[in-house]
Amino acid sequence: MNGHEGSERLTSATPRTDIGVADVLPMVRLCGVSKRFVQVLANDRISLSFMPGRIKALLGENGAGKSTLMAMLAGRFKPDAGHMEVAGQPVDFASPREAIAAGIGMVYQHFMLVENMTVAENVLLGQEGGIMLNPTAMRRRVAELAERFGLGIDARARVGDLSMGERQRVEILKLLHRESKILIFDEPTAVLTPVEAESLFAALRAMSAQGKSIVFISHKLEEVLSVADEIAILRRGRIEGEFLASEVESPAELARRMVGRDVVLEIEREAVAPGRLVLDVKHLSGGGLDDVSFDLRRGEILAIVGVAGNGQQQLVEVVCGLEKPRGGQVDILGQDWVNFFQSRAWKGALAWIPEDRAGLATCRGLNLTDNLLLTTRQGFAHGQWLERSRASETAQGLVREHNVQPGNIEAQAWQLSGGNLQKFVLARELYREPRLVVAEQPTQGLDVAATEAVWRRLLEVRKTAGLLLVTGDLAEALQLADRVAVMFRGRIMNQFPVSDAAQVERIGSLMAGLKD
């Protein structure tokens, strides 16, 4: 943390963009880079400098535009506007190969390793130099490289026998051997144990001490604060602010900025009188959850907010019947968990709108009628026979009623845009006339119009059901919910009505795990 006297000091309250260090040329620089996909502006005029010898963290929720930014750096997409510079020279990558040649190296979450080959073979694949291979010399080269950067690994080991942490080191060694100048890590700790993560951080520091520029992409606050020199927050495709890690006043502020509260859309909501209890969770523990208790009544929306990966996923899996509760009690519609899921009725019970709408909620290669039948087939069954014509008519009706484009029920799921697919999933789940609805990130990646359509439906649902809304978008939670519960490390930090302004102010702190 020295050598940036030249950069003016700013507090976190006045975010600056593009931290640089005077008199040092950035390794890579993004200058006002934008990228738009059909409906979504994934990256909006992003300017960042990646300095040699520094670790920069890119902090952002899923869908904030991190992957798009990475893909442009890696040469897989071209920016629509703006440009990139490597060592001061403008570059325009036509292919990933060119990005690699320019010294940009990526460590992806899914490793690109040949399991049946040794560490040395994997590292040197494609750059053995010469026609003949000399296994002893290869091993020595890789072992030397590993030692220089403090990445202890046996160069003779078969990659298939290694742990995830060791495989990650092999990926890093590949980049180091190519003399990549900037190393970009996409959520590198997602596959690691805490101990492995610690040794990764040590390696990152060792590499940055030797002049490499490190980019660390994550949504975990603690690890970003512990490893990064600089932190840039990405939200809805924009840089929300950039700080030196030393000047971050509170993790709460960081959390608040990452999740954001900027209102992109306002919607009118009328209160609905709460009805009978639809979901009652008492002291739910185990599988990453820690003494979670809450209840939900018909006519209510309870928003579960928090930084992703703090137990929301596990909670949803229990409530939706994928995982058995290990400790505590879960009652759904007045029945206990086991009984409810044994006699699960397709209609009038539970509906789930998963986060992964293209993978979990639908089958991409099936048409809309078949996708309708995925969760509603009991309603169209006649003994062993399916009434397909009635299913088609129903699908057609739903598509028309919910304005799903294109209006053709023969269209396959993959042909629909994210927003239309989400409208269809919502239409299907509401057709089941549920009394409990679980919606995960229902508007992630949707444009404003689709978001509004989804929100309206969710508010309507309250007339007949209770809605458990799991969202990383604070604005969405505050717009829709009656009550908010903040999760951190599998615990509910606090829950309160959205009308409680004092508590709402403290959401950021709660998400960062600070009680007071």
């Binding site: 040949v114 080959m117 694949l125 494609g126 590949k174």
Partner: protein, 306 residues
């Protein structure tokens, strides 16, 4: 059995094993690169004919051998085209290749059935052939058998000691990793299939130029299928392929001798022996092979990025 008979039997086993070993090694290269080639039988049949007709017309056994190898390369090039460029199913394309190769060889060869060709003569290697027992078994054969002795080492060296071989294996294990390392997995696969085809072609050429010296229909006689099975038995290793090929050679030679002695066992049962052995060997190697060494991306085509 007298010692002379045993020695003659083993020498015959070496000869019978040679074409199978060529084909097995060829298939190993192809599969190591990730492409399953079930067309070996057709490749051997057609290259046997190409070798025969070239030698028959030009009188040069070496030209015949080259023609056999080239026929194998071209036919497998077709397989590579179907699978690599048009992303056709490797199993279907391979089966089609077998039907095509065997059919074409039969069709083109019909006018020549029963005609003979010079082919390769036996050469006793100086000194080595005078060794007791080993000499008559291993060193009184034609030049193709000697070539065959060297080929497992060459294939092992190619796969394990050259950067081409490393790339080839990467293309068969995880093409995406090879591409990420800046290699061109499609080209590496095409090379593997065609180099393997050349070796299968040599195996076919051996049948007409050295084994029988004449053309008959059905010359390949299921040897291509045995080779495909032997690749699994060999766990994709050239060294084990040698054992497998000569084991089969022994059984083939043995059943021929047995028939010649006029035994009571029906000849169709004896003819079945090598293939029955194929089944048994496959069952055992399947039971034993946990980490058999099968390339991870074997049979999976490389989809172009969208």
């Amino acid at each position: 059995m007298s010692p002379e008979l045993v020695i003659a039997l083993l020498a015959a086993a070496v000869q019978a094993g040679t074409p199978i070993l060529f084909a097995t090694l060829g298939e190993i290269i192809s599969e190591k690169a990730g492409v399953l080639n079930l067309g070996v039988e057709g490749v051997m049949a057609l290259s046997a004919f190409a070798a025969f007709i070239t030698c028959h017309l030009t009188g040069s056994a070496w030209l015949g051998l080259l023609a056999g190898g080239m026929a194998g390369t071209l036919l497998c090039g077709l397989h590579s085209l179907v699978c690599q460029v048009f992303l056709g199913n490797q199993v279907v394309s391979g089966l089609a290749l077998t039907l095509f190769g065997v059919g074409l060889a039969t069709f083109l060869g019909t006018p020549y059935v029963g005609q003979s060709t010079e082919g390769f003569a036996k050469i006793a290697l100086p000194l080595l052939s005078d060794l007791p027992v080993l000499g008559p078994i291993f060193f009184r054969h034609d030049v193709l058998v000697y070539l065959c002795y060297a080929s497992p080492v060459a294939v092992w060296f190619l796969l394990n000691r050259t950067s081409l071989g490393l790339g080839l294996r990467a293309a068969g294990e995880m093409p995406a990793a090879a591409a990420a390392a800046g290699l061109k997995p499609q080209r590496l696969r095409a090379f593997g299939v065609m180099a393997g085809g050349f070796l299968c072609g040599l195996g076919g050429a051996y049948l007409s130029l050295a084994h029988t010296h004449l053309w008959t229909t059905g010359l390949s006689g299921g040897r291509g299928w045995v080779a495909v099975a032997l690749v699994i038995f060999a766990f994709w290793r050239p060294g084990r392929a040698v054992i497998g090929a000569f084991l089969f050679g022994s059984v083939m030679a043995f059943q021929l001798r047995l028939q010649a002695t006029g035994t009571n066992v029906p000849s169709s049962l004896l003819l079945m022996l090598p293939y029955a052995l194929t089944v048994i060997v496959l069952v055992f190697s399947a039971a034993r092979a946990r980490r058999s060494g099968a390339p991870a991306a074997l049979g999976v085509n490389i989809e172009p990025e969208d």
